[in-house]
Amino acid sequence: MSRARFRRTRRAGAVTLASALTLTALAACGTSSSDDGDGDNGSGNSAKADPAAPLDPKTKVSITIDCMPPAAKAAELKQWNEDVKEFNKTYPNVTVKGRSTPGQCLEPPRFTAMLKAKSQPDVFYTYFTDLPQVLDNDGAQDITAYVNDKSVPLLKDIDPDVLGSLKKDGKLYGLPTSNYRMGLLINRKLFKEAGLDPDAPPKTWDDVRTAAKKIADLGDGVSGFGEYSAANTGGWHFTAQMYSLGGDVVDASGKKAAFNSDIGKQVAENIHAMRWDDDSMGKTQLLKWGDLQKQIATDKLGMFLAAPDDVTYMVQQLGAKYDNFGMGPIPGGENTLAGGNNYMIKQGISADKVKAAVAWLNFKFTTVGKGQYDWKRHKADDLPVGLPQPNLWLNGSKTKDDAARKEFATMPVENFKAFTDNPVPGKAEPPKAQEIYKVLDNVMSGILTNKDADIDKLLTTAESQVNQVLATQ
């Protein structure tokens, strides 16, 4: 009872607040148009309310932000602190309070809890796929009005596909920090040992199978190809493999599962054959993100599907050497799963905070030559430079950024030539991605742990579960 009433009052409050905001916004519009004629004087008040206006340097603002690099990523943390300092030269009134996460910045169950608790910081890190969930929980603000070519000067050069994943009904809810298109990451050392050409990674799944067999034949606990099967990452990669063969996991209507198809069976049978007929996928299964990286970093794994920035992770946290890795386009090559990360801004924080947040995000993540695109500094700090992604850019920004990447490359860029020279069209993740991935984990783990797995049954079971997930929109 009290709960229901409470909700209603809260909602009523929100409505009043919203209408009040609209009114002020309208008022602001009204005044700002007259401001143009008036010049500078007396516009202080309206500037505060106008989302498009820059942050008033006199207002002291502090913003909290998560996913600051943890102590383990010493170099990235150092850069973060340097960037905050430099940012404060332009914006001495803004305090950036970073929170670091020692592990992965985002784990779905923890993220869900955070949204429910509304305990996200002012600026919070999400995957592209999280937007619906965030909006369901009323977690993020519409920042369309705050993001323009003044606050984010390179806006026009950001890949519209990337921005598209942060929009709903034409409204923008976040700023991207990185994007990826999945490819085939290989261990060059093992390729050479197995007599394979590390500069020509396998292009089809049949080639993958042959190569995996050769690498696994090296013995000593080495496996040729690796796949995940737990913590939603199994389903994520099953989806990627479906895409690579031109398949889909959810049909066009968004209401029905589409993986119980010939392509789905082909994917499943291929994995099953590699695991059981060839024994080229290793004995340890039920792996999740992080496990395959550990294997390939210790030369126990020949190849797996990954985003290019996994290399950074392996070099920095697992102590691997980056010239040991190379990358080719996703086998099959029809489509590749494209995703990425971004920051959103918490619903309900003040306009000044939003402005400060946009300014910081722009400085750190969407400025060529600065922040995360300061390749010269990356090189000095011994971080990998020369990876093809993240790369948000188009047009002039792309030319400029690519040139800098080449100039300061710390790793043999040609190791990634096969990947960059053969771009595969990106395909976004399905709706309710994390839920579907959870279900598809079971398909993966079934194939990888049971020699006698009944593929039809696994797919049919998963299909009915996914249909149920999609039905409860």
Partner: protein, 291 residues
């Protein structure tokens, strides 16, 4: 030890019996040592290996080269100091709450016997029959938005402390102990004009030291070992407990560093146990079990 057990002393005294006894004894000691210290040895030694060696097939029994710096790396990278402090904070806070509320409740139910006391005790004990994980969903929703007070407890230590009070087993243990305190003792004090609080403080508590010890151990160990609840209600990584923190970090460090961190995480309670083992064991057997 003079108590007569399963096997008769006469049988043991015979030469054949004696020999058999020693053989069995040796086998059991070796077996138990392997079964219980073996994994721990593997943990400590694998933490000293290089990353390569830690995931090598077949594994090595003795580290080829010793790298104690793995331990240092684990300590820094996983921020174990903070996780440890967090856990201590939650554990001792929960202990304080339980000592105050549960002792008071048990005392009231045992000695003051209010109207409806039996019903309340029954309702409390009934919760013992319900697996905690079944109630995790409604409990979680309650912590999200506390009825009446309209508070969100997520990420606050209250989310650990308050639910820890609902430990019916501890209340039951305390009440049974209090029941065994002779009534005459308390009556004498009441005659002297002491109020219930005074009686509790200066008569009941002093004689209850052993059971308080047991309850304290249960309280602290309970928080120390809990996993699902703190994982749900403390989503902020900087507020996590050791058990949850290690889990979230497991994938982001090399295997040898992870194993080293497991060793470090095990040390505090192991040391505590080895130092206080006599008290802990006698407390457990005496209190939990016979009373």
């Amino acid at each position: 030890m003079s108590t007569r057990t399963l096997i008769s002393p006469a049988q043991l005294a015979r030469p054949r019996g004696k020999r058999l006894y020693w053989v069995c004894f040796a086998v059991v000691v070796v077996l138990f040592t392997l079964a219980f210290l073996g994994p721990l040895y593997w943990m400590v030694s694998s933490g000293l290996k290089t990353t390569q060696e830690a995931v090598q097939t077949p594994p090595t029994w003795v580290p080829g080269s010793v790298h104690p710096d793995n331990y240092q790396r684990a300590w820094e990278v996983m921020d174990l100091a903070k996780l440890l402090l967090n856990t201590l904070y939650y554990a001792f806070g929960a202990l304080a709450f339980q000592l105050v509320f549960d002792v008071a409740a048990a005392y009231s139910l045992s000695k003051l016997r209010p109207v409806l006391g039996k019903v309340i005790l029954g309702l409390m004990l009934a919760t013992l029959m319900i697996p905690a994980t079944v109630l995790v969903v409604p409990q979680y929703l309650t912590a999200l938005d506390m009825p009446i007070v309209q508070r969100n407890l997520l990420n606050s230590p209250w989310a650990i402390w308050l639910p820890s009070v609902t430990n019916a087993f501890n209340i039951f243990l305390l009440k049974r102990f209090f029941d065994s305190i002779p009534k005459e003792l308390l009556d004498a004090a009441s005659m002297d004009g002491a109020g219930p609080l005074r009686v509790l403080w200066s008569i009941v508590l002093p004689v209850s030291r052993p059971i308080l010890g047991v309850v304290s151990i249960f309280a602290v160990v309970g928080v120390w070992k809990d996993f699902l609840w703190p994982m749900l209600v403390l989503p902020d990584p900087s507020k996590q407990t050791l058990a949850v923190g290690i889990y979230s970090l497991a994938t982001s460090v090399p295997e040898n560093v992870l194993i080293a961190s497991l060793t470090i995480a095990s040390l505090p309670t192991l040391i505590l146990f080895l130092v206080f083992q006599r008290n802990i064991m006698s407390g457990l057997t005496a209190g939990g079990l016979k009373g």
